[in-house]
């Protein structure tokens, strides 16, 4: 009698074991499919590469591109960012409304108000006065960047990267150049 009961218990255990195997296999398959089903999000890298390319075209060896200035040494309003920096914003998406946005703001650090610290011998560099700006692409993407600045990360919004560098003009005036790059391409990078 005891032996019979033991065999019955083993059978029940083996059924449970089989069920556990199926559950484990099912969850592994689900997790792997979910992981590999997600597209690689390369928009941040793309935005960084774009900023590198634009900064190389706006400034070379620490000096601003001469084409940025007109003959009277003011900023050239006709400077074509896409043409000068070899950019093409058409994408593979049909009826695309624009997947890229690019903005470069120029701040003159010589004219700006300087913040003075408590120590007399130390003068903080100013943030400068915005003297010129260039932009290309879909301007609506800029609002995505403002939203993405919050605490939560919104995956389906455009990816924004904001970087800055310093450069001099021909008269050694110091400029801070802030470049904002926003890339949408949501269909290809986010599920």
């Amino acid at each position: 009698m005891r032996i019979k009961n033991k065999h019955g218990a083993e059978k029940i255990i083996s059924i449970y074991w089989f069920a556990i195997l199926i559950i484990i296999a099912g969850s592994v398959v689900a997790m792997v499919s979910l992981f590999y089903g997600m597209p690689y999000d390369v928009r941040e890298q793309e935005a960084n590469i774009m900023i590198n390319q634009v900064s190389n075209c706006l400034s070379e060896n620490g000096k601003l591109n001469q084409k940025l200035f007109s003959e009277d040494k003011t900023f050239n309003e006709n400077f074509n960012l896409k043409e000068e920096c070899s950019l093409i914003f058409e994408t593979e998406f049909e009826n695309s409304i624009g997947e890229y946005f690019l903005e470069a703001d120029f701040y003159n650090l010589n004219n700006g108000p300087k913040g003075v610290s408590q120590r007399d011998d130390f003068i903080k560099p100013s943030f400068g006065v915005k003297v010129f700006e260039l932009s290309e692409g879909n301007f609506n993407l800029k609002t995505d960047c403002k939203i993405a600045e919050g605490e939560k990360e919104y995956k389906r919004l455009s990816k924004c990267v904001d970087r800055e560098f310093y450069s001099l003009d021909s008269e050694n005036q110091v400029y801070r150049i802030n470049i904002l790059s926003a890339i949408r391409k949501t269909e290809k990078n986010v599920k």
Partner: protein
């Protein structure tokens, strides 16, 4: 009677271990198969190539190892020469009959792609990308 019982226990254990090994092997095979699938590689390579072209400068020649892609393309009866194509500013990687993945680049250059061959006119698994000014 005692001897038979011990033999039964041993057989059960052996069967149990064998079944477990088979189960784990199937899972590992599934994981590897998923990680090296045509769909995943098409996406990975097209994005990698697009980013590579984005960061390239005119007059550059870049060589990219696509041995994994070559193996999968051959398995799916796709000529390696047709695995990567660049039309305008769009990179297309096709490693299976049904598949194909496109990704665009923003660098306004003329990019061309062709597979490298050895002295015996066989594909080496390397793809050459030439970047020129438009």
């Amino acid at each position: 009677m005692k001897l038979n019982k011990k033999g039964e226990i041993l057989m059960e254990n052996v069967l149990f271990i064998v079944l477990n090994i088979i189960f784990i092997s199937i899972l590992i095979f599934f994981l590897f198969k998923q990680g090296s699938g045509a769909v995943l590689l098409e996406q990975t390579y097209s994005k990698q190539i697009a980013l590579m072209i984005d960061s390239a400068k005119p007059a550059m020649e870049i060589k990219l190892n696509l041995e994994k892609a070559q193996k999968i393309a051959e398995e799916n009866k796709i000529d390696f020469k047709e695995a990567v194509s660049i039309t305008g500013n769009v990179v297309n990687v096709k490693l299976s009959q049904k598949g194909g993945y496109e990704y665009s680049f923003f660098n306004d250059v003329e990019a061309k792609a062709f597979p490298e061959k050895n002295e015996n006119n066989e594909y080496t698994g390397i793809y050459v990308f030439t970047i020129n000014k438009k």
